[in-house]
Amino acid sequence: MSNLTLLGPQRRRPTVLAIVRELDGPVAVITAGWQENENDPLPGGLSEDVVNLGIYRRAEQVFDEDRELSRAHRDRQSRLKQLQRLYRIRLDHAIAAYRELLELQGEEDAADQETLAGEVGAALEDLRSLDRHHLERVQAVHAEFEERWHPSRRDSVARQRGELARELAGAAVVVLAGGHVAVLLNRLRLFDLAPLIADKTLVAWSAGAMVAARRIVLFHDSPPWGAGNAEVLDSGLDLCGDVLPLPDARRRLRDEDPLRVAQLARRFAPLACVALDERSRLRRDADGWRARGARLFGSDGDVRQVGRSSWKVLRR
């Protein structure tokens, strides 16, 4: 299991340079989540002596050269968008039911609590089952795409992947930047990069951290419109075990609301929901997980600050 560091947002108070300086060896950077701005300066002056793999540009080149694959990719994205939209309709109802039952827990007579607890549990299971179902549908779309188009066997993809493999062979550390989570994921998937970076020391922030996880969950409790229900997007690269990173949680989540916290923690268990805000870090090495400034969401609705000023062991 390789070393891994997950970070919160880097735009305003970057810490990534200090983290990378602690590590040995050549560094490769993936900024595909920034799309056309892929070559913008890296935060905190990280740009010196690192190689930007230019994944977004390479993917654009593939789509220019291979129109058939480009069309197929676009069609797949349309299907995924449709699935997401349909899942969201069911999700809104499932979450509303679960939340309503949770709220009853403070109101029902003690004698009725046992009955209520059964319904709360069932509603949670409905929710988890819906998430699983959605993920299966999404995975089926990916599998069908792979089976039909075999992107890795197509000339343009194979050529780019070959170049990427050579670049990565010389890198000891891979930095996965934030940005647009779906764009980043799709590009990494197009070039099947997971096996090439799995044995590297990985530093990932925000969307990069989300993509590195087993499951990618989109979240925002207070969007201008809509219920603000967290939703499963896709499977990630599964490089960070049972941790579900929630970057920029202070801004995006109403973590003062125990019901919302408990709901997130229970819904995605056994994954541990870990809030990664500015300057917080979560590190995994041979000794296990350690955290600094991160916060752990508990199934009881509690938010536990882990290692505010020094490293604390989070989970072994």
């Binding site: 947002p9 305003r12 934030g178 989570v181 779906a182 969307a207 969007p223 201008p224 419109w225 970057p247």
Partner: protein
């Protein structure tokens, strides 16, 4: 203590008044009630506000023989009320801003005092935020044949534009006033930076004769559709799709937006209208709102008779304290009936720029939703 001093029958001493005014801020807001206070020599004092349904002038009462004048009103929570104080002394009648209240709202006619009811806060996204990447303003001039003169247009360009990307376009009526009095640039910068709206280009237009040109004047359609739009699409990286083209306006500007979109269906897929002067008549054309509204009523009656589908998606907002609330509410079922994807929002506010500013987050994010859910920086 405060309540006692201001209660009917109270007759505070000058020292007590000094202490009260030093200790408290005014108007005094307590739950759903607000107490306005004026100190000074006067024969009469009145509150002048523009709350539809209430008298436009409400008298203060004098506390005994003191120089303190008081008026307590019910002000529901989250209200925002603009007002002046009228002071009458002898034959002199003056409208002044509240000397005890520093809060001001500006508009093209000057400034008013502002009461923030309990729970009202100026939205954080309507104020400059440190670290937010700001867009830029570009000055253009459109040679208008239909108006026989050059028209200046300010163009807002979002920060961090991408070379190969195309952007939605929002044409803003009374653009200069939106900039000055509704903090439009700050709002766009903040909402784009927060990913709540798409990065967009906004064309800020102004009219030297808005009560004529914005009153459903067909020349304005020609200006927008045949002169402004082609020039902008030629010079700027704009998405060539109705769903990426919006019109926005308040009051008569809202009429201009709706009228142009209605008469050019399929061109503008997004409309943001605020406190629209959508006067209509159910029988004949009498409306009682003055001659400037004649062409508006004619247009609105025509629109209500044969609405077609003026746009795909629309945001309508109005203050419940303004006289146009009935007309705006009446628009909603009609828009729903013709299949416009509409969101309608009311606020406890009046016909003013800060009301329009405060609704911009809901309106813009409804029409041009940003990648908030997908972007984690």
């Amino acid at each position: 203590m405060t309540v006692d001093l201001l209660a009917p029958g109270a007759e505070p001493t000058p020292e007590e008044i000094d202490r009260l005014l030093a200790e408290r801020s005014f108007p005094l807001v307590e739950g759903g009630r607000a107490t306005f206070v004026y100190r000074g020599e006067a024969d009469e004092v009145a509150l002048r506000s523009w709350i539809y349904g209430l008298p436009s002038s409400q008298p203060f009462r004098r506390l005994g023989e003191s120089e303190l004048w008081v008026l307590t009103l019910e002000v529901p929570e989250r209200s925002r009320v603009e007002y002046k104080i009228e002071v009458v002394r002898g034959r002199r009648r003056r409208w002044i801003r509240d000397p005890l209240n520093d809060l001001r709202a500006h508009d093209p006619f000057g400034a008013n005092s502002v009461l923030h009811g309990a729970g009202y806060e100026t939205p954080p996204w309507a104020q400059p935020i440190a670290g937010v990447r700001g867009g830029s303003l570009l000055d253009l001039e459109i040679e208008s044949k239909v108006f026989g003169q050059a028209r200046p247009v300010q163009v807002y360009l979002p920060a961090r534009r991408r070379r190969r990307r195309q952007y939605p376009l929002l044409v803003v009526h009374d653009g200069g006033d939106y900039l000055r009095f509704a903090a439009l640039k700050t709002v766009l910068d903040n909402l784009i930076d927060a990913l709540e709206i798409q990065p967009l280009v906004a064309a800020l237009i102004d009219s030297p004769e808005r009560l004529v040109e914005y009153a459903a004047d067909p020349r304005h359609d020609t200006f927008l559709v045949d002169e402004l739009l082609p020039r902008l699409e030629n010079e700027l990286p704009l998405l060539p799709d109705p769903s990426a083209r919006g019109l926005m306006g308040a009051s008569f500007g809202a009429v201009a937006a709706l009228a142009t979109s209605w008469r050019n269906q399929g061109v503008f897929g997004r409309l943001l209208v605020q406190s629209g002067s959508f006067a209509f008549s159910d029988l004949g054309e009498r409306h009682g709102r003055g001659p400037a509204f004649d062409p508006v009523v004619k247009f609105m009656n025509g629109f209500r008779d044969q609405p077609g589908r003026p746009t795909e998606r629309m945001f309508v907002s109005c203050g419940v304290y303004e006289s146009l609330i009935y007309e705006n509410r009446s628009l909603l079922p009609l828009l729903q009936q013709i299949g416009v994807d509409v969101r309608y929002v009311e606020a406890r506010d009046g016909h003013n720029w800060e009301n329009w500013r405060d609704r911009l987050r809901e309106g813009l994010s409804w029409l041009f939703p940003g990648p908030l859910w997908m972007y984690y920086e």
